[in-house]
Symmetry: none
Subunit: 401 residues, 2 copies
């Protein structure tokens, strides 16, 4: 059930402050039967103290069994149904490198590929060309001009880059040019409706220009395109929740996602400590703070249980500084699980903790996956976290008389 429309109707403003502290990929798995998860193995005296005051729950980001990517995982935390508000691949990639998509922009994710003498693809990823070589090539492609349309080219990583076409009447319903196989040429960009014809034409023109610029490259002499997409049209935090929201993150992807929902990205922190510095300095200026910590996910993706444990302990260590600001509501959770044992995102639920003067404590004594199963928030989907935060901040009026 999407309760955002209801929440939107019921929102009220007050002086409360809400902090959402996200440890990316927080949830985990035991490495041996009967053992602890990463969070349970970590020494987290500060989070455990909060568990005694607060209320926990076992949160599934999207639905049971669904493993979220970063986009859907965060949209859900932000209270937006991620199935309804799907972010296209191009838009997500542009967002991920910190490109702020405007209303006239159409983004598309591109791969460098290798073409043989006949123009057929011999390697769909240009031999996984390293970023040091591909990034300058992507920058070079900025020379490829398309009449009547502004073109931006941004390097991503290895064989990946992103192209943004800016202009009037650029629809996004254009077929991918990646044939998903080798031995055949890239497909032409084909518009699947009239509104997307200009986009397809611009793409075809860009590809022709790019091929000239890449002609002498040994590996990256061609390109394919996937996921033409505009920025999703999403009403932001101010409009939906009445919150002046700020995002504090190190990585562009999370800054971009926060921007998509109308948060102001503040500071340029490089570490978690610096993120909290930014939080402290901006405390008076916003009602809501999204603070993103990346490295729990990174070490989980690496399959490194011990290092993920250490990252969780680092995360725990900054909690007193956040609490010293006396937030009305503090939420601590992750956007999904990234168990070191699987070395990838997973579908397992994530423990979520909410601390507020108005909460009904559930008597739990520590923060972790097993405790969360018996918590006062029950087993709930991620989209309910924002309504819970607003409620505990007394920012939601009574529904009905």
């Amino acid at each position: 059930m999407d309760i955002q429309p209801l929440v939107r109707d019921l929102k009220i403003k007050n002086e409360s402050k809400i902090v959402m502290l996200i440890a990316d990929g927080l949830g985990g798995l035991p490495v041996a039967p009967g053992g602890p998860t990463e969070l349970e193995a970590a020494k987290t005296p500060n989070l455990d103290a909060l568990a005694k005051q607060g209320v926990q729950g076992s949160m599934y980001p999207i639905a049971p069994g669904i493993t979220p990517g970063s986009g859907p995982g965060h949209l859900s935390l932000f209270g937006y149904d991620p199935v309804k508000h799907l972010i296209g691949r191009g838009a997500l990639e542009a967002t991920g490198v910190g490109f702020k998509l405007g209303p006239k922009d159409m983004a598309v994710r591109c791969n460098f590929c290798t073409l043989d003498a006949q123009g057929n693809i011999s390697d769909r990823r240009a031999g996984r060309i390293p970023t040091e070589q591909s990034a300058p090539l992507a920058v070079e492609l900025r020379q490829a001009k398309v009449h009547g349309v502004e073109v931006f080219v941004e390097p991503v990583k290895e064989h990946r880059f992103v192209v943004i076409f800016r202009g009037e009447g650029l629809g996004g319903n254009v077929a991918d040019t990646d044939p998903q196989q080798t031995g055949v040429p890239p497909l032409a960009p084909v518009a699947r409706d009239d509104a997307s014809k200009r986009t397809a034409e611009a793409a075809a023109r860009f590809i022709a220009e790019a091929k000239k610029l890449l002609a002498d490259q040994p590996k990256a002499n061609g390109l394919t395109m996937r996921g033409f997409s505009a920025a999703p049209s999403i009403d932001g935090y101010e409009e939906v929740y009445g919150l002046r929201a700020a995002a504090i993150a190190v990585y562009p992807m999370y800054k971009g996602l926060a921007q998509l929902v109308g948060m102001e990205v503040i500071g340029a922190p490089g570490t978690l400590e610096e993120e909290i510095d930014v939080l402290e300095r901006a405390w008076a200026d916003h009602d809501f703070f999204f603070v993103h910590f990346k490295y729990t996910d990174s070490r989980g993706e690496d399959g490194n249980f011990e290092e993920k444990v250490k990252m969780i302990e680092q995360f725990d260590a900054i909690v007193p500084r956040v609490m010293a600001l006396k937030p009305t509501v503090l939420i601590v959770t992750g956007d999904h699980s990234t168990p070191a044992r699987l070395a990838s995102h997973s579908w397992h639920p994530v423990p979520a903790l909410l601390v507020a003067d108005t909460c009904r404590p559930d008597g739990l004594t520590a923060f972790g996956e097993h405790h969360a199963l018996r918590g006062g928030l029950g087993h709930f989907p991620g989209v309910y976290l924002m309504p819970l935060a607003l409620a505990h901040a007394e920012r939601l009026a009574k529904f009905g008389a």
Copy 2:
């Protein structure tokens, strides 16, 4: 939230094997306050051992408070929203007697009734005529020919039988002929749209022929029709989940339901032991196995607590044979509760157990209603069972980048 469309998009194939072991009507109630349920009273050392490795939840088949029939209960286990995919009464009855409905078939559930000299119904169920008498009569009705349409008549039980019309252009929007009262004649079969006119005509012709054949019967000299319906058009397991699914069951109803979702019904077992023989022999040929055990429900329906306990113990005894096959994911649950104390299906949730290397064990030590309340799967609707099974078999890709 119907996540089947999402699951369908995310499915991937691998070599994993999933077994869904269903004890029909598994959930129960204590007979005395503070007493155990049937499952809790049963000695289930094998299931309890699995509970220690796996993760449990308290599953409500449809929604809290809703008591499912066999059709909706199983559709839900199979991951299909049973409110969306309603199986008509005629189709369910045909399926229940093992009649495989084809695309040109229109099934209708019929009752023998008693007509008085004026042609008015004096008994809507022909004095609940016993099956020994009604079944040969149903077979006799096969002589009733309808020009241009093939007709099949299948006995069911007591006053019930099913008629299947096979032909081109047979719509299913035909009103019931059962007036739901006595002292009036059966209604004529009336088409409620143009596409159903041929069906209504065929039904009228069949009724006229049948009345001639039944004219001399003391009780069953008439018939009424209800629930004209085609086989529901449901995309099957291969299409939806990418699974080559097999169904192993003793009773026709469950074989029929499995067939409706594209499972291949294998073997002709007569006992649970024989069902596991079939499972062992077919292990290499399928990715998914639905194994159905009927007698937990039957003894529940009888109101016999002790016998239901024994059936659960028989069910527990075959678990080691299943585990010896090393399924990637094993699910053990029921399609609904059938508490002996109520001697009928009920709305109470059913304990559900999932065992897989990739699961996050919840620390429970036995399988049962009270343990399940505190399980890692939480309290969840039956339709989430298949997504969870696929996720734990690593058959679902990440949603979004």
